[in-house]
Amino acid sequence: MHHVVLERWSRGSSPLHRRDPRAKFGALLIFLVVLATAHRSLPILSVALLALLAGTLLWARIPLSRALARAAVVLPFTLVFAAVCWVAGDPARGLALLLKSYLSALAVLAVISTTPLPLLLHGLETAGVPRFLLMVAQFLYRYLFVISEEAQHMRVAARSRGAGTREFAAQPARFRAAAGALAVLFARSYARAGDIHHAMLARGFLGHFRTLGSLDFGRTDAAFLALASLVPVLVRVVIERMT
């Protein structure tokens, strides 16, 4: 599956990987705000910020071309709106939509591909996000692959029994069969959740997760946060002064 690659990237050991998740997330928010509020000379600013992100990704030893391709997931949706803006006689806004959404996605990718999700969620928890919600998100991510695999199997099974037929008359039956498959998947997921809980209790689960390492917002993290927040701001100041 294509997201497994994210697991591999996020377990690297570059200096960026070792920074505290809160420092990275804070820097991400500042980057996103600097980008979102930009109006003047956006194309030049975008090139500069793209270079900044590319540099960051290279520094973290993330394969650049694959990261750039992954962030393009926002493009199909954005291109439609950019085309509409073009037709409506506002091509500048269309371009702004494209640049801003792509760069924002790339920035989020830069953070998530250098931070394992459990650590990021733990960082968010210490920053005040409700723990209950984060635990649900953590479980969701963990079992996403398991349940998806199961759905994949069911799809293959249905195909091999002739569910791929294009015949129009067979559609009501196919619709009901798909609903039945989903219901079975629902019931299996429900039962699996019960098993998971029992296994957790058997291993001494006390109602919350404990991570192996403790988060420690050190001096390096503070320096990183200061630097990483200042650079996009300075880039924007310089570009807007020059143009």
Partner: protein, 304 residues
């Protein structure tokens, strides 16, 4: 669901900031609601059901010739797990989509949460809550599925329009038509899956208490519909709003709703951008502060 995810860069600063500020207490409330009378043992259940909704996208439902749709899930979760719990699961789904899959923005997270996880799930549950025990049960489940998609889509469209994304009338009509089709499909899928689930094990579907006031529920439903439709049309016709006294005077922010952040957006549009960015950062700080306070409140309540 992909159709109504909003990415960063689409919403104007006042819109995303307002939606983020609105999302914080709403998410805090449903998290607290979902935890009431609910022990931590069900945390794995919620996570696995969220994974189920993700995986459900792989099961295709045929629509017409050669096209297919899939379950969105808000209404189905609300009928099985209850509205607050379903809201929490949807919040987790949207957060994971934004963080891991870059599907939906981080600054636009508040807007996506309010559209889909909070108001979408609420709208999906309401018909079932009102008529789940009457002869109209099937229709209620169908309407729930359709309504959840339609409300989310209309809110997303309205937010885009408020942000000044140009949308000619024909484009608006086409997208509303497409959303209506996917809403009907979601209703049909939700109903079919609920019926199949009942055939497997009837206990999965919740039984809403009987004896709801029909009139009160109908009024509530009408209010939600009217609010969504009105919001959409108000944002599609910003001139009307402007005539009501909100002169913006700035060409590219022609539609600014009255919000805590709208006023100073007007001020700082004329001043150097640093103050604008500063205001954005102050907004983020404000959101963070609110998150932190609510988190503290929840923790205290839980340990008390």
């Amino acid at each position: 669901m992909q159709a109504v995810h909003i990415y960063d860069g689409f919403l104007s600063t006042p819109v995303w900031a307002t939606m983020d500020v609105a999302a914080v207490p709403a998410v805090g409330y449903i998290v607290r609601r979902a935890q009431r009378g609910f022990d931590d043992s069900r945390v794995p259940l919620l996570g696995v059901m969220g994974a189920f909704v993700f995986a459900a996208q792989m099961i295709n439902f045929p629509v017409g010739v050669g096209t297919s749709g899939h379950l969105v899930g808000g209404a189905l979760l609300a009928c099985t797990l209850g509205p607050a719990t379903a809201g929490v699961v949807m919040c987790a789904i949207i957060a994971i989509q934004a963080l891991v899959f870059q599907d939906g923005g981080i600054l636009a997270l508040g807007a996506n949460l309010v559209n889909m996880a909070i108001l979408g799930v609420l709208a999906g549950y309401l018909p079932f809550y009102l008529w789940g025990q009457t002869a109209w049960r099937k229709l209620a489940i169908f309407a729930g599925g359709a309504l959840s998609v339609m409300v989310s889509a209309m809110l997303a469209l309205a937010e885009l329009l408020l942000s000044g994304v140009p949308m000619p009338g024909s484009m608006l009509g086409i997208s509303l038509g497409l959303f209506a089709v996917s809403a009907l499909l979601e209703g049909a899928i939700t109903l079919a899956v609920v019926q199949a689930l009942e055939a497997i094990q009837p206990g999965f579907i919740r039984k809403p208490a009987t004896g709801r006031s029909f009139a009160r529920g109908a009024v509530g439903l009408a209010a939600i519909l009217l609010a969504a439709v009105g919001f959409l049309f108000a944002s599609a016709a910003p001139d009307g709003i402007e005539r009501l006294g909100l002169q913006t005077g700035v060409a590219h922010s022609r539609a600014v709703i009255r919000s805590p952040l709208a006023d100073y957006e007007l001020d700082f549009l004329r001043t150097p951008w640093i103050r604008r960015a500063g205001a954005g950062l102050a907004g983020v700080g404000l959101i963070y502060g609110a998150c932190w306070l609510i988190g503290r409140g929840v923790a205290r309540r839980r340990s008390a």
